[in-house]
Symmetry: C2
């Protein structure tokens, strides 16, 4: 049976966060030389169409996996490229070296390296690292922080009780599922103050920073979301599936800086999806 989410002491959790930061350092060093270098695109193709993956993604996942195995041989690892390797311990590292491959291949600094630690019940630690801008977002029950140019600041979402005042971010209308998903999204989007597209994982960092109020996305994998849940929630926000259930397995998700706004949006999405 899985231990409860508080099985790690604060000190042990802080050590895990520092270790996740070292993983991000290594991963960033593997990725950075490939960013904006030509000839990287690999077309996975298939029926879903254009789905680029880069050599950088694979190199970074390899170095992350090797480092975890060396330091925590009993932990599991779940990554986009090489899938799930179960561990003997309940802890699993859930990683996506380049979340936002479309941002990456077009040179846009909105992609990030996602590193989460799942304790068997929930993701308890998340890092979203942006190796080009040098920003590192880290979240857990100890709080959420942004490290940038040698400075660390605590992150706090902003209050936004009224949907009419909200800034909503999302990556692209093309990721939509069926017309029902789109109608549900629009039911929220038509009421907000401003919609911003093109956010990728960076958008969740902006929620944690209190600059964006809401992110609504769909079709996400576990490794797309697990690092972002502790980041948003550690800053005071709430992050679930559209129906309010836990988002750690991905799917259609909603992150909000203000828990009251989150509750309202979940009720709009739930009603629209009925």
């Amino acid at each position: 049976m899985s231990p409860p989410a508080n099985a790690l002491t604060d000190q042990a959790l802080a050590e895990m966060a520092a270790f996740a930061g070292r993983l991000a350092d290594l991963s960033g060093a593997a990725i950075r030389p490939h960013f904006r270098a030509g000839g990287l695109v690999d077309d996975k193709g298939g029926p879903k169409g254009y789905d680029p993956v880069t050599a950088a993604d694979r190199d970074a996942e390899a170095v992350i996996r090797a480092t975890i195995k060396h330091h925590y041989p009993r932990h599991g690892i779940h990554g986009e490229e090489q899938g799930l390797e179960k561990g003997e311990d309940p802890f699993t590292w859930v990683i996506d070296p380049i979340d936002g491959t479309r941002a990456f291949i077009t040179g846009t600094p909105m992609w990030g390296t996602l590193i989460a630690l799942h304790d068997g019940e929930a993701p308890i630690l998340g890092v979203m690292d942006q190796p080009f801008t040098g920003e590192r977002f880290t979240g857990s029950r100890l709080g959420s922080f942004l490290d940038h140019r040698g400075k660390r600041r605590a992150l706090k979402t902003r209050p936004c009780p009224r949907l009419a005042d909200a800034v909503l971010g999302s990556t692209t209308p093309d990721f939509l599922g069926g017309p029902k998903d789109r109608a549900a999204f629009d039911a929220v989007a038509k009421q907000v103050r401003l919609v911003r597209w093109g956010g990728d994982c960076y958008g969740y960092g902006l929620v944690a920073m209190g600059l964006v109020d809401l992110v609504i996305e769909w079709g996400l994998a576990p490794y797309d979301v697990q690092a972002l849940i502790p980041l948003v929630e550690g800053a005071g926000g709430k992050f679930t599936c559209w129906d309010g259930s836990p988002a750690d397995q991905g799917g259609a998700v909603v992150a909000a800086g203000d828990p009251a706004l989150h509750a309202e949006v979940v009720s709009i999405l739930t009603a629209a999806m009925k």
Copy 2:
């Protein structure tokens, strides 16, 4: 009568480019403390709805104007905040300290400071500066360059003769004019490999870098485009209105890295707008 575009010697043009860089330094210093600081949003409001401007925008325009007046008192200045001040010489500096105010107020590093020099016939020099990432794009007939972290590299657009291979960037579907504009945009967008939203002025830098093939936008002002034309064209691309006419007065514009692709897209847009 205006002098021809080559009235400035290469050396004089390089001096103007260096001066534009100093303007960007001063402007960036005025803007940077306000980026991601709270309480900046100013709602111009009006019938068009949400149109934020920041104290940073006004401070930066003031320092740019004062510096130009000190060094080139005979030059004109055209900026978003304070409008046009005509000069005695045919040269006019066309500036927008924060192009992409929506990106700015949401903390996204896709806004930029735009500084152009218009010689009476065309914009002959353009700077697009991103004070947060520290990237400075400069373009003229002398070529286009990216300065970043003390290094300068020459920029070159990439070949992309086939529309089916193109990456298309644009800022937001919400900036669209009428249904005819949208149909014209879609006539191109449905044929490309990938559409990326959320680019703001940064998207044109990605065209100059050879990472994006095409940007199509609409409803732009002169100060939104003049810095970007020499940047894209100095890197080998082409930048006009949808009908192929000069884009220096803004409007609906198309920038392409590959001139052959530009010609094809202009013909699609022109046909769709008939």
